[in-house]
């Protein structure tokens, strides 16, 4: 029974990692920017939800989607303010990466100045739970899993069946050719950042509702999401999603026989194992034909 409970906990954590990882992977695949500041965008979503739900007192049904939209907007704004000027100057991937680290550090410092370093809580008390035999599931865990299971097929449909989606895939596959074919890359970058950030927004509103928000919230989640992207196969979105779930489940199942202090060892051990034995990740072979 313990094993089943840990598996369920793992699926719930994995859903949040998967949403964040897919958002990161979408941006990386589409723009080639190693957007580590995705963590800052993630945290922004938590504070946006707090502002909408607590000081403004909006009902959850309004505050939750508003926070996801605000996160999408903030991600697009970050592209406009940080990356676009660098793109115009022809900055390479290393420069973009350094700028991204700067943006993450800067944003974290601003969050700490504005909201303090204490965790900002969005609600009081424990979460509603459901008992199924000896297994206990929280409402938030159920919602996390449902959101992830609904969002990924919708995203896949968008990317494969719509004009914008196909344009994103074309840009990801061959940016120069896409531009020659008349695709407005700058407009697409806005869309890509907004979409990727909205996925982070979905994850963070669930997490913030459960555990509150603090300035470094995105930093921790971001690292696990990065590992998920590598484990799943860089460049392939379903791989990032699978990597997220795999990490969440592995992290939790490791508690069955190991102490909690070994969780990082398990996560990064998995990363090292993939880098050494299967550097292309679980679904790396799919990249021959597809990129997003």
């Amino acid at each position: 029974m313990l094993l089943l409970q840990l598996l369920i906990n793992g699926i719930a954590s994995g859903a949040l990692y998967a949403l964040t990882a897919v958002g990161f992977a979408l941006i990386y695949n589409g723009t080639r920017i190693f957007h580590i500041a995705h963590g800052a965008v993630f945290t922004f979503g938590g504070y946006a939800l707090y502002l909408f739900a607590v000081p403004l007192g909006l009902p959850w049904i309004v505050a939750l989607p508003a926070a996801v939209l605000a996160t999408a907007g903030f991600g697009a704004l970050m592209d406009a303010l940080v990356y676009r000027p660098l793109r115009k100057r022809g900055t390479g991937p290393a420069g973009m990466f350094i700028a991204s680290i700067g943006a993450l550090t800067f944003a974290q410092a601003v969050y700490a100045l504005v909201f303090g370093t204490d965790t900002v809580n969005l609600r009081q008390g424990g979460l509603p739970t459901f008992d199924i035999g000896e297994v206990t599931v929280t409402a938030v865990h159920v919602i996390a899993a449902i959101v992830a299971l609904l969002v990924f097929p919708v995203l896949q449909l968008f990317l494969s069946r719509t004009r914008w989606g196909r344009a994103i895939r074309a840009l990801a596959d061959n940016p120069r050719l896409a531009v020659v074919r008349g695709i407005d890359a700058e407009r697409l970058y806005i869309l890509i950042f907004a979409l990727g950030s909205a996925l982070a927004g979905l994850a963070v509103v669930i997490l913030a509702f459960d555990l509150g928000v603090r300035p470094d919230l995105g930093f921790t989640v971001m690292f696990v999401a990065l590992v998920a992207v590598i484990v799943g196969g860089v460049g392939y979105l379903p791989g990032a999603a699978a990597g997220g779930f795999l990490l969440g489940v592995t992290q939790n199942l490791s508690l069955w026989q190991l102490s909690g202090r070994w969780q990082d060892v398990v996560v990064f051990g998995l990363l090292l194992a993939f880098l050494a034995l299967r550097p292309q990740g679980i679904f790396g072979h799919m990249l021959v034909t597809r990129r997003v």
Partner: protein, 370 residues
């Protein structure tokens, strides 16, 4: 004006001039320079500012309002040590070499222990009032104002056995000082016939402990002992205990359950928890609340008292020029009456403050009386 009157006026003028010169000399005196190096940013930053820094600043403000020490004002130089030893060492070096401090206040074992070799070499006193790690007072330049981690762990184990608990599970932050407390708890609990059926840890930045709590729930312990060095994990653990359906007969914790983060997440979750603390006087609590608008916690009292112990020692020695003399004055102070009640220094920086047990009852923190 006759001669007597003129003489009297002259004397008054001279006296006034002398007095004003004296006052001028006192206020122009070189301040007593003290340093504070603590993690003011990061997860524990706001907690430290709210209680720990506040405790030091209250003591300094009160002393300066009384004219300082030996006619000299007290000046506090503040540095953010962050929560790592390397940054703490940099902060201390800056305080010593640039700000010329004579003593430093700090907190948290991983921050304080790396500072000690430098403090010893430069003959700067280190006040770590709330650090419970046993190694702290092996240094001849350190002072603490709290029971050691082992004393707290033993007290909890004794109480659990007294309440008829046969089995116990433990969840703690993976932190050296906290683990000292846990080792003492396990040793005492098992010595008295109990059995520890689960011992789990979480990392400083972790927010989700449901996995560990699920595992501990499966072990079905009578008692659950939770120990973390800041209020946030305490609040989260209490919330998640109810979410995973973990229902031990008794939960034990530390005084950090009084942190307002616990109340912010829901006071009812803490109801009935028994925890270790040190007693602070009601008079101090009133002054603290008047100054800051919220209640003090035990750490505020410890850090406040440590500041005053230093002031008293400088006054007793008559100077801060030779800190070895100030240190010896503290180490050999004997009985000291402060905010923490009466405690004793008997040849070292160990202040022999005794812990008490408290309980959360009807949302209030009261002394536990079985």
């Amino acid at each position: 004006m006759n001669h007597t009157a003129r003489t009297a006026i002259n004397r008054l003028v001279i006296a006034a001039a002398a007095l004003s010169a004296g006052i001028g000399a006192a206020s122009a005196q070189e301040p007593i320079r003290l340093g504070l190096a603590m993690p003011l940013s990061g997860q524990n930053g706001d907690y430290i500012k709210r209680y720990v820094l506040a405790g030091h600043e209250l003591a300094i403000k009160e002393q300066n309002e009384k004219g300082g020490i030996l006619g000299r004002p007290i000046k506090l130089f503040i540095e953010d040590s962050r929560n790592d030893g390397a940054s703490a060492v940099s902060a201390l070096n800056k305080l010593i070499n640039v700000d010329k401090i004579k003593a430093v206040f700090s907190i948290f074992t991983p921050v304080v222990l790396p500072m000690l070799p430098i403090a010893e070499e430069k003959k700067v006193m280190v006040f770590a009032p709330s650090v419970e790690h046993p190694d702290l007072t092996k240094s001849r330049w350190a002072v603490r104002m709290t029971p050691t981690a082992a004393v707290n762990g033993t007290l909890v184990a004794d109480q659990a056995i007294k309440m008829g608990m046969k089995t116990a599970a433990i969840l703690t932050e993976d932190n050296e000082a906290v683990r000292v407390s846990v080792k003492a708890f396990i040793a005492q609990f098992e010595k008295l016939g109990g059995k520890v059926v689960g011992d789990e840890t979480f990392k400083n930045q972790d927010t989700d402990m449901r996995g560990q709590l699920t595992k501990l729930r499966a072990a079905r312990p009578d008692a659950f002992y939770f120990n973390a060095p800041s209020g946030r994990p305490v609040a989260l653990a209490l919330k998640q205990i109810s979410e995973v359906g973990f229902k031990p007969k008794q939960i034990f914790a530390t005084h950090l359950i009084e942190d307002r983060e616990v109340m912010a997440l829901g006071a009812s979750m803490a109801e009935g928890v028994i925890y270790t603390a040190v007693a602070t006087t009601p008079e101090f609590n009133q002054r603290f609340k008047a100054a800051y608008g919220y209640d003090a916690d035990a750490n505020a009292g410890k850090h406040y008292d440590s500041t005053n112990v230093l002031f008293e020692a400088i006054r007793k020695v008559g100077s801060d020029a030779d800190m070895a003399k100030v240190r010896d004055a503290i180490y050999n102070w004997g009985e000291y009456k402060g905010t923490l009640g009466t405690f004793r220094f008997t040849g070292s920086g160990e202040s022999r403050v005794l812990p008490i047990l408290k309980i959360v009852k009807n949302g209030k923190y009261v002394r536990y009386e079985p």
